[in-house]
Structures are given as structure tokens and as C-alpha cells.
Symmetry: C2
Subunit: 446 residues, 2 copies
Amino acid sequence: MDQADIRAQLTALIQQPDKHQLRGLIAHMHIADLADALAAFSPYQAAQLLSLLSLHDHAEAFSFMLEERQAAIASVMSRNDLAALFSEMESDERADLYNRLSEEQRHAVLPGLAQAEREDVRRLASYPEKTAGALMTSDYATLRGHWTVHKALLRIRLEAPDKETIYQVYVVDKDRTLQGTLSLKQLILAKPDAIIADLMHADVVSVAVNEDQEKVAEVVRHYDLLAVPVLDEDRQLVGIITYDDAMDAFVEEATEDAQKSASVATLGSSFKDISLTRLFTKRIGWLLLLVFGSLFSGAGIAFFEALIEQHVALVFFLPLLVGSGGNAGSQAAALMVRALATGEVQMKDWLGLLGREILVAGALGFTLAIAVAGLGWLRGGTDVAIVVAAAMVCVVMAGSLIGLCLPFILSKINMDPATASGPLVTTIVDATGVIIYLGFASYLLN
Amino acid sequence: MDQADIRAQLTALIQQPDKHQLRGLIAHMHIADLADALAAFSPYQAAQLLSLLSLHDHAEAFSFMLEERQAAIASVMSRNDLAALFSEMESDERADLYNRLSEEQRHAVLPGLAQAEREDVRRLASYPEKTAGALMTSDYATLRGHWTVHKALLRIRLEAPDKETIYQVYVVDKDRTLQGTLSLKQLILAKPDAIIADLMHADVVSVAVNEDQEKVAEVVRHYDLLAVPVLDEDRQLVGIITYDDAMDAFVEEATEDAQKSASVATLGSSFKDISLTRLFTKRIGWLLLLVFGSLFSGAGIAFFEALIEQHVALVFFLPLLVGSGGNAGSQAAALMVRALATGEVQMKDWLGLLGREILVAGALGFTLAIAVAGLGWLRGGTDVAIVVAAAMVCVVMAGSLIGLCLPFILSKINMDPATASGPLVTTIVDATGVIIYLGFASYLLN
């Protein structure tokens, strides 16, 4: 059954007074699919549908929705229903929703929670967005080093219903300092009277609470972790980040980078649903900056106006030359930005990569020069052929090196290297290309 | 300790006859870090270092290396060592390595395996790259529906050492048709005499064995799965894909898309380590195609040569106008490609998005037109101001619509929408922009 069918059926059934069939339909849907289907309904209708679910499923359905959508539905729910839902949600999801609630709604939901939970919500909600702290959950299982495996398993079984994962557990001392970690698989395979401290891995991979989410996701992926523990400045365990949240962070960062690579400011919401005015504001900033950037190309052309009037055939090759420089530069920038984002390349690799790029760009420029030299000869004779070929080699090399270096330079001045987008590189290379090409022409033809 | 320190220490210790200190250093390293550090050593030295590890750790270290690196090290290992390692590796990793071994090495490793394992290797190795079949493992735990929880847990404990995950288990009938799934957490929390069939989720999210890895990764992420079962045409369970392999597939696909978005053919290996000739060949193809594409811009300019000779001031605005069109087009293409890749937008959304884009692009073009009209007036009077402003609106709108539609068109003709790269869009929009701008100018100024 595809999304459109599901929506049509839900729409038909929601209007019937007897909710029996509706319950039947929902019972066989994956909660993630139900959450998707609900996106087509008003917050009020969605809240109605969700109220047919158990509290647990309702909380899970929320976890599959965008935060702004959760907040919209929460705003039409009764205070009691919202409070009940809130106490059922996982700690990380709950804190994110809390950050989107109105002052009044916050007052409605907090009294429904135990004192410790209230503090947990406030604490988790206080970390800046896109950091480990904002991503982490406090629903994890901890053990003590002197326990036996038997005791640990009993404890885990007892706590399991409230934990986001019990497959990776953490050993802490009485100050919550992280001592080690072990997996449920290890515990299951161990002898019941074995001591936890003897079994655990003491060299634990962890992240700091203020770490950027992109780094966190990379750590989870690099070490194939089910969850990574989050430590504060005193190395006390304050939360864990599970693989599914790391994967979401990955996709979010890749989307951001893809948008930056085309000079779009981070949308921050779905491309399909974003309002037209927001889409406009996310795009116009860079376009305006770049239009003034391309004035340098215009100025370069204006400087050589007399030359152009004399040899108007030169203009024919302008798009071809500056275009090739921009394309080679976009390639180099994209390769570099991505390699920096995946951690494959570090700042210190810069010089080695520059050397490689000079060789490769030289070869690329030379090949393209051969490809267009004949054309230059046809349109303007040997002189123009030489100008076009020589300019091609130089423009492609200049473009490539600008594309390669820009991400490093941005990174050095604490900007996201992904800002070294295709359009930015193209605009810079355009101006450089105009000057190189017309400079050559002016030297050789006059 | 950072990577450089680790490498320096390993280099120093590997030359000492006494391996005691070396073992000590390795024992405290995460296997993933050791695998990284080994990248700096020759295959022979790496094999030497790896031989100090237990067979299990050796196999795990391999799982953190690129496949070509694994194959290089395998090629210097003795037949016996390789056979032993091979039987220890996880089934999916093993099949990938098998595909990279020489005929001779294959004959060396197969006899070390049991008959069933040999067939497993051949079967897993037979699936095309980047499909679910190539990504899946056969090391998963299955249960039967009529078993009790007690029996199931005993069985899982027995099989756990050989399984890639035991946290999600699969219920099959005697033909291996998938009946349902349940988590280890559910099993642990259930009563020992409960029946598996009563506990399991029967509506299982699964993927087909020939499904593209990008889709598989999206399914794992969308449903927050620890692993997704893979079914053949008869709905028999043939493997599972775990979250960590899905995450790797995600990153691989995002890297590919980032490279395609800049008109680079898929590198297929690390940007840092790829050979210069391969890097050249991955880049030159598109550059050559695009240079011939930009001949259309050149031809457009040549067509209006007489006009340019009369009003050489027009050339000043050329980079600015075609640049803005290309930039707006790159934005639209990148937004669309990414939204298609994450499944946020489907083909059927095309018309609605086109309508939105016309409005947004109109507003963008109008804003940019205002920004440059004054400049046109300064350089060429009212006539030029009108030409430049009108051309800007049209070029930006044309660029945006080309950028938006190209991914859909490519997708329709079964090409990857990500091929609608910035450079490709820019080249097409350049030619369009030249014709629009000079066409306007020729109409209004003559």
C-alpha cells in the first residue's frame, strides 16, 4: 500500500463515528509510516488519530516526526494528554520537544513529571543545538564494577523497559565517572559469577558533551558503535548517543553540506514544505554577494575593452575558458570539502594535496588546451590558437588550485569548508580567468 | 595520542626483535585506530603487525580497512594464515574480500572452510556491488515460531559467538520464509514459557536482495532499525544488513553524490590515496564534455558579434548575468537532487515544485535586477539599464527552472539525478543566458 492509498483510507475512516476500522488499519501499519501519513493532516486531525494509539505508540509516532510538527500537534492537545505523552517520551526526544513548547505548555507538562525527570528535561534542553549534549539521551543502563554478571543481568532486565538501549551498558563509579563499557552479548556469554570490572573494556571511545554532532556521527561510524558515551569536563558520564540518532545527524549534515555546496544557506526544514519567503531568503544572500563578486569579471573585461573591439573573435572563447576553469575548480573544491567532512583528509595534508593537484590540473589543462587549440586556429589563426591554448592551461590550473585551497582557507578562519561552494569558486575563477585570458591576448596580439 | 604519534611508535617498535612492547601498545588501541595506523605501512609490515593479534582481532582489524588494502595484505600472507583468517571473518566482509582475491588465493582459502561456508562465500560474493545482496551478512540468528522464549534464549546464547548481531532475531518457517521478528530486549522481558509466534512482530520491514544500497540505507534510517532482513523473490530470508553497514553505505552514497554534484565521476577510492592518473581520468571526461557544451555560449556570442562591436559595454554585464543564472540554477539543482536522494521529494511532486520555483525564481531575479539596474544606467544609460534588468529576471528564472527540472529529466531517463551537477547546469544556463541577454539587447538597442 503506498502513501497516497494510506492517506485516502485514513481520510475516509477518520470521518466515521465508529473507530473500529480505523484502529484495524493503524494496527497493521509501522509507526514510522503512520507518522509519515499524518503529515498530510491538520494538527487537530493528527492529534485525534494519535489518541487512538497506546501512549507508548503515540510517543514513538512523535519520535518519527519533525520537531516543528510535534510542536504543532502538541499545541492542540489537552494539558493532561500532553503531560501524559511527555512523561512517556524518550528523554532526548522530550527535551527537543520541550525546547519548542510555549511557556504556557511548559508549565502544563512539567508538573506531570517526577522531580528527577523535570531536572533531566531542563538539563538536556539546555545544550546548544547540533552538539553531543543536544543529541544524547539519559535513558541508558549503568553497572558498577564490583557487581557479578548475574546481578548485572537482573538489574538490566529490571530497567530495560525505560532504556533506549540495553545492548551496550556502561560501568561507572559512585561519582558517575566512566570506568568501562560492555555489551549485552558479552554479559550473556559470560559466567554468572564473573565480575564486571574483569570483563569490561576499559579503553572506551567517548565524546565530549560540547562536541559538534558531525564529529559525533563520524566517531559512531568509524568505530562501528551501537552507542557512544558522552562525558562532561570531569569525565563523568552524562548521556549516550545511539546509532540511529548518529545516522540522522549524518544525513542532516550531508544535506547541509549539499546545500552549502550550491551557495544555499542551511534550510533547516524540508525543501518540500519550507515557505516561499524562507526559501527566498535562504537563496538571495549568496546570489547578491556573488553578483557583486562577478563585477570583478566585468571590470576585467572593461579594462580590456579596446582589445576586444580590435579582436572581437576573442569573446567567442571567453565562456569556454572561464567555464573550464570554474568547472575544474568546482571539482577540486567538492573533492576537498567532502574529504574534509569524512575525516579522510586533515588540515596537515594540505601541502601534499596541493602538489598532487598541480600535476593533475596541469594534465587537465593541457588536455583541454589541445581540445580547443584547433578551434582557436580556425577562428583566428595561429596567434589566437596560441593565446587560447596557453590561457586554457593557466586558467584550469588557477581554477583547480583556488578550488583546492579555498576550503582550507575557510577552515583556517573557522568557517565551514563546505562554504567553498561551486558558485563561489566559479565566481572567483571567472574573474581570474578573464584577467589571465585577456592579459595573454593583450600581450601576444598587440 | 594522535595518529602521527601512533605511527612513529609502531615504526620504532616493529624493528625490535622483542615484540613485548609492541604487543603492549597494540593491546590498548582500539582496533579501528590500529587499522588506520597500519595504512601508513607496507602490506608486508602490516601483515607482520597483524600477526601479533588474536585471529578474532585480526579479522576485526580487516573489517575496518578498505577492501583494496585487505586484498594487498592478504596477498603477502601465507596460505595457511590467510585460510585461518578467512574462516574467522564475518560472512559479508569475507565475501567482499573473496571478490578481490586472485584465482590462486581463492583456491588457497576455500578448502579451509566447511562445505556450507564455502557455498555461503560463493553465494554472497555473487551479488552485484551496491545491492542489498552485496551488503548483507548471513551471520544472524533465526528462531522458530513454536519455540518458547526459554528455548529461544538458550539457542541464541549458543549461537551468539558466531553472529554479527543477536539483538534482533528472525522467525522463519522450515522453508526459511520470514514469519516475523523480535528483539532480544523483548525476549529478555518476556515470560520464559511464552511462545515466540505470540510475541513476534509479524509486519516486518524488509528489503529485496537486488535493492539498491541507497534505498536499503534509507529504509534502515527511516524505521530506526538495528538490522533489516533481506528477502529473495520467494520471500525467503537470505541475509540481514546491520545498521553499521547501512551507515557506511550512506556515507559512500553521500560522497558519490557530492562528487557527481561537481561533475567528477565516482572515485571509488579515497581522494587522498587515489593515483594521479585515476584522478585525472575521473575528472577529464566531464571537463571535455562541458568545454564542448560551452561552445554553444561561444556560438551565441559569435552570432551577436556585430552587436557587441557596436555596444562593447554589453560585454561588461555578460559574466554578471550568466553567472547569476548559473548560480540560481545550481541552487535549484542541488536542493532538488538532495531532496530526491533523501526521499523527501518524489517524481510526482514535480509540478508543485515547479510552480513554487517559478515564484521564488521570479522574486530572486527581480531582486538581482534591481541590484544591477543602477550599474547598467551608469555604464550605458537607460537603454542598457532596461536590457540588463529585464535580462536578469529572465536569465535567473530560466536558470532556476533548468536547475529544478534537470534532475527530474535525468531520473526519467534512468540516470542518477545527482548528475545534474553545478557545472552541467552552469554550462547549459550560460548558453541560455547569452542568447536571452544578447537577444534582448539586439531587440531593444537596434
